[in-house]
C-alpha cells in the first residue's frame, strides 16, 4: 500500500505508466470498464448460442463443428456443450460484468472525485486489483480450451457434480478446476478493491463532505465494498475446500457411498449442503453487490434530471444500509428445497420479505423524486427511468420466490431465471448504461450521440421485456431450468412458441447493442466536446475539467458546504447549487 502522497504531485510519464500499469484511479476505472465490456460481449454471445440451441436443438450448424469438434460433432451442440456454455455465461456475467463495471469501473473512477479526494487511498493496490481481475478472466476463459472443455455445473457449482471430477461429466476435469482457481483469484482482487473503497470513503473525504452529504452513489459503493469484503472471503474459503475435494482426496462436500458412472467413490462423510450454505452466504450479498451501485446511479440521475432533490435522502441511506445488512441474513432462500431444516427456511423467508421493504422504499422514493419535477429526457435519464420500471418488474417476482410454500413449485423453473435476469441481467445493465451516458462526458471529454442513445434505449427496453417477461409464464407452466432442450416432455410442447419468441427477441436485442457500441467508440473519437458540467449537476466531478487532470482537483482541496441534491432551491439564482458553492443558502 502506498499513500496518495507518494505519487500525487507528479503526472505519470510514458505509455506503460499512463495506460497499462497506471496508478491513477481514473485510468484503472476505465480499464475495469473495458474489461467488463469485453466480458459482457462474451456473455451475450454465449446466451445467444444457448437460446438458439434451446429452440433448434437438431439443426446442424457447421460453425459449431469448427469451434467445438468434440462438443458439437456433426454441427449439433451436445447437451454437455450447452451446459458448459450456460455455466460460463452465468459465471462471466455475474463476476466479470455485474461485480466489475458498476463498482470497480464507475466506483473507481468517481468515488474519489465525488468525495473530493485526489485518488484512492492505496493506488498501487488499486492497480494490482485490476491486473488480478484480468488474470482471473484469462484463467476463466482458458477453461474453454482445456481437455474436456468448460465446466457444466452451473455458475453455482454444486458438489458432488462439481467435486467428483470427470467421472460426473465432460468438462468436470481441468475445466472445473480452472473455474474454481479463476474465482479464487477474483476473490483476492475483490478483497483488494474493498480495502481501497472502504478506506478511501472513511478517511479521504474532503473538508465539509460529511457522510450525510455524500452522493448516494458513494453510499452504494461503500456498502457494496463491505458486502464484497465479507462475502468474497467466504467464497474464497469455499473454493479452497472444493478444490481440495477435487484434487487432494478430501471429503468436505462429498458424502460416502457414491456410485458414479459405475465407479464407487472413495470419499466419505461430507455434505453437499455445506457448500450451498457457504456459497450462498456469498451468493446472496453478491446480487446486492450487482444492483446497489445501479440504484445509486438511478438516484443520482433521477434527481439531477428532475431538477429536484432526491426524495427522502435519509430514508435512501437507511435503505442502502438495511439492504446491505439484511442481505447477509437471507441466503437460505436459495435453499428452500435443498433438504435443509424447514424451520430455518421459514426464518429465512421472513427475513427475505423484510428485505423487500427497503427495496420498496427506494422505489417509492424514486417515483417521489420525479413527482413535481421538471424532467429532462436525456439518454442517461431514459436508462434511469427504465431501471426503475425493470427493478419493479424484477423485484415483484421475488415476492413469490421468497415464500417457501410457493417455491415448492417455482424452484429451479424459468420463473427463477426470469426473476434474476430482470434484476441483474437487465436492471443492473440499464444502471450501467445510465452511468455510461451520464459520465462519458467527464471521462472522455466528449458527448455521446443522443439520437443513437435514445434509439438504443427504446429498442433495448422493449427487447428485454420481450425476452424476460415470458420466462415467468414458462415458470408458471412448470418449465424447468438448465435444460439443454425441451423435447423429452409432452407438457413442454405447447411452450415452444414462447421459447421461439424469446429466442428471436434475444437475437433482436443483441443486435441492437451494436448501436451502443458504435455510439461509444465513435463518440470517444468524434463526439462533440464536453464542457465541465453539461448536465448542470451538483456533485464534485462536475466542478473539474472534462476529462479531469491526473490529480483530479489540480492540487486544490475542495471544501463542501451542502448535500448533493440542491436542485430547484427557491431563491437561488440557478436551479442547481454545486456542493462546493459556499455562497448560497440554505446550506445543510
Amino acid at each position: 500500500m502506498s499513500s496518495p502522497t507518494a505519487h500525487a504531485h507528479h503526472a505519470p510519464q510514458g505509455f506503460i505508466r499512463k495506460y497499462v500499469f497506471s496508478l491513477d484511479h481514473k485510468v484503472i476505472g476505465i480499464q475495469y470498464y473495458f474489461l467488463g465490456l469485453f466480458s459482457v460481449l462474451i456473455g451475450l454471445t454465449l446466451s445467444v448460442l444457448m437460446r438458439f440451441h434451446m429452440v433448434y436443438p437438431d439443426v446442424k450448424v457447421s460453425l459449431f463443428e469448427k469451434l467445438w469438434p468434440v462438443g458439437a460433432q456433426g454441427g449439433i451442440m451436445t447437451p454437455e456443450l450447452y451446459l458448459s456454455l450456460m455455466t460460463m455465461h452465468g459465471t462471466i456475467m455475474v463476476f466479470f460484468v455485474l461485480t466489475t463495471v458498476p463498482q470497480s469501473g464507475f466506483g473507481n473512477y468517481f468515488l474519489p472525485i465525488q468525495i473530493g479526494a485526489e485518488d484512492m487511498a492505496f493506488p498501487v493496490l488499486n492497480m494490482m486489483s485490476f491486473w488480478t481481475t484480468f488474470v482471473a478472466l484469462v484463467v476463466m476463459v482458458a477453461a474453454f480450451f482445456v481437455k474436456g472443455g468448460a465446466p457444466l455445473a452451473g455458475w453455482t457449482g454444486y458438489p458432488p457434480l462439481s467435486a467428483l471430477g470427470p467421472v460426473s461429466g465432460p468438462g468436470e476435469g481441468t475445466g472445473q478446476t480452472l473455474w474454481i482457481v479463476s474465482i479464487a483469484i477474483f476473490c483476492f482482487a475483490s478483497l483488494m478493491g474493498a480495502i481501497n473503497f472502504i478506506a478511501t470513503t472513511i478517511d479521504l473525504r474532503a473538508k465539509g463532505m460529511t457522510l450525510m452529504r455524500m452522493p448516494l452513489t458513494c453510499w452504494t459503493w461503500l456498502v457494496t465494498a463491505i458486502l464484497g469484503l465479507l462475502g468474497f472471503a467466504v467464497l474464497l474459503s469455499a473454493g479452497v475446500l472444493l478444490v481440495l475435494d477435487r484434487e487432494a482426496g478430501t471429503s468436505f462436500f462429498i458424502p460416502a457411498g457414491l456410485l458414479v458412472s459405475d465407479q464407487i467413490q472413495n470419499h466419505k462423510g461430507g455434505s453437499p449442503l455445506l457448500w450451498q450454505h457457504l456459497f450462498w452466504f456469498f451468493g446472496h450479498p453478491e446480487v446486492y453487490i450487482a444492483i446497489l451501485p445501479g440504484m445509486g446511479v438511478a438516484s443520482q440521475l433521477l434527481s439531477t434530471f428532475s431538477r429536484k432533490p432526491i426524495f427522502g435522502y435519509r430514508a435512501m441511506v437507511f435503505a442502502i444500509l438495511a439492504i446491505g445488512f439484511l442481505g447477509f441474513l437471507v441466503w437460505g432462500h436459495h435453499m428452500f428445497m435443498s433438504g435443509m431444516s424447514p424451520y430455518s427456511a421459514l426464518a429465512f423467508s421472513v427475513l427475505t420479505m423484510c428485505i423487500g421493504v427497503p427495496s420498496a422504499i427506494k422505489t417509492f422514493n424514486w417515483i417521489g423524486t420525479l413527482w413535481g419535477g421538471k424532467i429532462r429526457f436525456t439518454t442517461a435519464m431514459m436508462f434511469a427511468l427504465g431501471f426503475v420500471s425493470l427493478f419493479v418488474s424484477g423485484g415483484i417476482s421475488g415476492i413469490f420466490l421468497g415464500q417457501p410454500a410457493l417455491d415448492l413449485y417455482f424452484h429451479d423453473t424459468y420463473f427463477v431465471v426470469g426473476h434474476f435476469h430482470m434484476i441483474m441481467g437487465v436492471a443492473a445493465i440499464f444502471g450501467m448504461f445510465a452511468g455510461t451516458f451520464y459520465w462519458f462526458p467527464k471521462m472522455f471529454g466528449r458527448m455521446m450521440n443522443e439520437t443513437l442513445g435514445k434509439l438504443h434505449f427504446y429498442l433495448s427496453f422493449i427487447g428485454v421485456y420481450a425476452i424476460f417477461t415470458p420466462m415467468h409464464f414458462l415458470g408458471v407452466a412448470g418449465n424447468p431450468r438448465r435444460y439443454a432442450d425441451f423435447t423429452n416432455y409432452d407438457f413442454m410442447n405447447p411452450l415452444m412458441p414462447i421459447h421461439k419468441f424469446m429466442t428471436h427477441a434475444a437475437y433482436f436485442t443483441a443486435a441492437v447493442q451494436i448501436i451502443f457500441l458504435i455510439n461509444l467508440f465513435w463518440s470517444i473519437k468524434k463526439g462533440a466536446r464536453a464542457t465541465e458540467n453539461p448536465w448542470e449537476a451538483t456533485t464534485l466531478e462536475w466542478t473539474i475539467p472534462s476529462p479531469p487532470p491526473f490529480d483530479n482537483f489540480g492540487g486544490k482541496h475542495p471544501v463542501v458546504y451542502r448535500g448533493a441534491y440542491e436542485y430547484g432551491v427557491p431563491g437561488a439564482d440557478k436551479d442547481y447549487i454545486m456542493q462546493n458553492d459556499p455562497a448560497q443558502t440554505p446550506a445543510h
Binding site: 457414491l258 456410485l259 464407487i264 427475505t352 417521489g368 429526457f377 413449485y409 407452466a477 439443454a484 423429452n488
Partner: protein, 261 residues
C-alpha cells in the same frame, strides 16, 4: 414522452396474460395443490396491484412532470408518507409469507400419516427408480457393490435378505389415488430433484441424505416428472411419470408385479 405509453402497454399486456391464464399451471390433483393455488392467487393479486400501480405512476410522472418551462417543487421528502408506505409494504409482504406458512408446515413440519405407503425413490444420472417394500412392509437390504443397472438391479438389492423377496422395483411411480404416500428420497451420485407439477411439490434429492417426503394424490392420471436440479449432461432427459391409479387398479398392478417375481 414515448416511454410512458410503452410502459403502460407492456404493463397491460403482462397483467392480461397473467389474468387470462394463457400459459398456466396444470390443474391440481390434491388438496395441497388447491391450497397452493389459493396462496399463489393471493400473492398474484397483491403483487399485480403493486406492479400495475407502480408502473402506471412511473409513466404518469414521466408525462405530467416533463420539463415545460415551470419550476420543480423543492422538497427533500415527506416523512409521513415514508412511514406510511414503509409500514404498508412490511405488513403486506410479511402477511403474505405468514399466510403461506400453513402450506409449508403441512408439507414439512408434519410427519407422514402412520398409514402412509412407503416408496423408495432412487435418483441417479440419469434415471429414476422406485421401490415398493411389498406385503412384508420391509425394504430389503441394499449394497452399493451389488448395483447392476443393465442386469435389472438398480438399487443393489441383496437377494440373500429375505425382506427383499417381495420388493417391487419400477421405473415409474405408481400410486393409489386418495391414499397418503411417503416417499424416501435417495441419490446415488449427485443432487437431483423430484418434481410433480400437478402436485405442486418438489424436493431436492441429496446424496448422503435420506429425505422423507409425503403427499396424497386424489385425481387419477399420468403426470410427467422432470428432474429439477442440474445433475449433468442428461439432466434434461431424466424423466419419469407419476401414475395415479384408482385403488382397485393399483392393487391389481401390485398383485401382477408380485406374481411375476
Amino acid at each position: 414522452m414515448l416511454l410512458a405509453p410503452i410502459i403502460w402497454v407492456l404493463t397491460v399486456i403482462i397483467c392480461y396474460i397473467f389474468a387470462a391464464h394463457t400459459w398456466w399451471f396444470p390443474p391440481p390433483i390434491s388438496a395441497h395443490g388447491m391450497d397452493y393455488d389459493a396462496q399463489f392467487t393471493r400473492t398474484l393479486v397483491i403483487t399485480g396491484v403493486i406492479f400495475f400501480v407502480a408502473q402506471f405512476a412511473l409513466g404518469y410522472a414521466i408525462i405530467k412532470f416533463r420539463d415545460n418551462g415551470g419550476r420543480a417543487s423543492y422538497t427533500h421528502g415527506n416523512n409521513k408518507m415514508e412511514a406510511l408506505w414503509t409500514s404498508a409494504t412490511a405488513v403486506l409482504f410479511i402477511g403474505l409469507v405468514l399466510m403461506g406458512t400453513k402450506i409449508w408446515a403441512s408439507v414439512h413440519f408434519t410427519e407422514a400419516p402412520a398409514d402412509a405407503m412407503p416408496i423408495e425413490v432412487l435418483g441417479k444420472q440419469f434415471a429414476w427408480n422406485f421401490r415398493y417394500p411389498g406385503p412384508d412392509a420391509k425394504f430389503g437390504h441394499t449394497d452399493i457393490h451389488m448395483v447392476n443397472d443393465q442386469g435389472g438391479n438398480p438399487f443393489g438389492i441383496d437377494s440373500k435378505d429375505p425382506a427383499s423377496k417381495d420388493d417391487i422395483t419400477s421405473g415409474s411411480l405408481r400410486v393409489p389415488a386418495g391414499k397418503p404416500i411417503k416417499l424416501i428420497l435417495h441419490s446415488q451420485d449427485v443432487i437431483h430433484n423430484f418434481f410433480v407439477r400437478e402436485l405442486r411439490l418438489k424436493q431436492d434429492i441429496v446424496p448422503g441424505m435420506e429425505i422423507p417426503f409425503h403427499f396424497q394424490a386424489d385425481t387419477p392420471g399420468t403426470y410427467e416428472v422432470p428432474c429439477s436440479e442440474l445433475c449433468g449432461l442428461g439432466h434434461h432427459q431424466m424423466r419419469t411419470t407419476l401414475i395415479v391409479l384408482p385403488p382397485a387398479d393399483f392393487d391389481k398392478w401390485m398383485k401382477e408385479q408380485l406374481a411375476a417375481k
